[in-house]
Symmetry: C2
């Protein structure tokens, strides 16, 4: 009986998580056919972390980073996605996301709810090596998608290379400097050839 209600809580969480597939991001998928959703984005950034693990600081535990990335966007089910190049009230968004985390992780059995919430809080705080690398990875993936799709959210928001350096570059370079050097050169080339 206890076993069954434990599983019922876990499945309630997993079935609620499916709603992340309906949350749309500012970035299109590679062929510019439609916006990326936050479910498939979460898969893609977890794969990015797995592939780019060798570019992380030596103390980074990639298995924890992957778990953080699998969870990091779940709060968007209630709070929505806030495009990095869009306008939003950061404090208001943070409050919404904390309420969302209370509700969504709260669907899980108590010990697991605490464990997942702690991973999400750590990611959001961006202070530990694992969270810093995870945040870098989360920021680098849209750069590749925007280039593949011919501009993507840069086009929509009229973003300049200086704005990318300021809003994205600082975050990517903090956790994955060699990755930033590589992708920054491609982004610059993209902007030069688009003009």
């Amino acid at each position: 009986m206890k076993h069954s209600s434990f599983l019922a809580q876990q499945f309630a969480f997993l079935e609620e998580a499916d709603r992340l597939k309906n949350i749309l991001r500012a970035t299109p998928i590679h062929d510019d056919s439609r916006p990326e959703n936050s479910g498939e984005h979460s898969w893609h950034v977890a794969l990015y972390a797995m592939v780019l693990a060798g570019h992380a600081a030596p103390e980074v535990r990639i298995d924890r980073v992957i778990k953080m990335l699998l969870l990091h966007d779940l709060v968007e089910i209630d709070a929505g996605d806030t495009p990095i190049h869009g306008d939003f009230d950061a404090a208001e968004q943070e409050a919404k996301e904390k309420l969302a985390a209370d509700r969504i992780f709260g669907l899980l059995p108590a010990a697991q709810a605490l464990e997942f919430r702690a991973l999400w809080d750590e990611f959001e705080a961006a202070e530990t090596p694992d969270a810093i690398f995870g945040k870098s990875i989360d920021r680098v993936q849209p750069l590749a998608l925007n280039m593949a799709s011919g501009g993507g959210s840069w086009r929509e928001y009229n973003v300049t290379l200086d704005q990318i350096d300021a809003r994205v570059g600082t975050k990517v370079a903090r956790g994955a400097p060699t990755v930033w050097t590589y992708i920054r050169a491609r982004v610059e080339h993209f902007f030069v050839t688009q003009d």
Copy 2:
């Protein structure tokens, strides 16, 4: 220079992987609004593994299972998805998937290509505890989605409870018997109330 070409190979793989978001499965998402794609499915099953880890055999290393699940469907970019309740030639599909694995994992730097291919081969062989649990997880997620969406791929393929027991139940029960007991009761209830 070497560093940069190494990253170029890794990004070629990650950008090719984006095509998985255009591969559609037989199962709809929870609200029956559209088919699930294999990219968001890969995220969802990795999350399932993370949540249901406590129901795995004690020797299962969940971090390896999560990595297998992040990679397991990439071959569908070339080989397509084969619905478990549909008709397909298993040997022909296996041959197509092996060619796809050669091409797609072959985009990565050599050592990483070998490492990822070995994880994929292990998952496909379904002989190690990690692969057996991963396969169970991959089979249990569509059951919940089919129930949430009012029948999903069961409705489309006129699937009976006996067929679910034979085609899905044996695989779920092999790696996650307590999970099967729980979800099997819900599936039976679903079928009874649909009649």
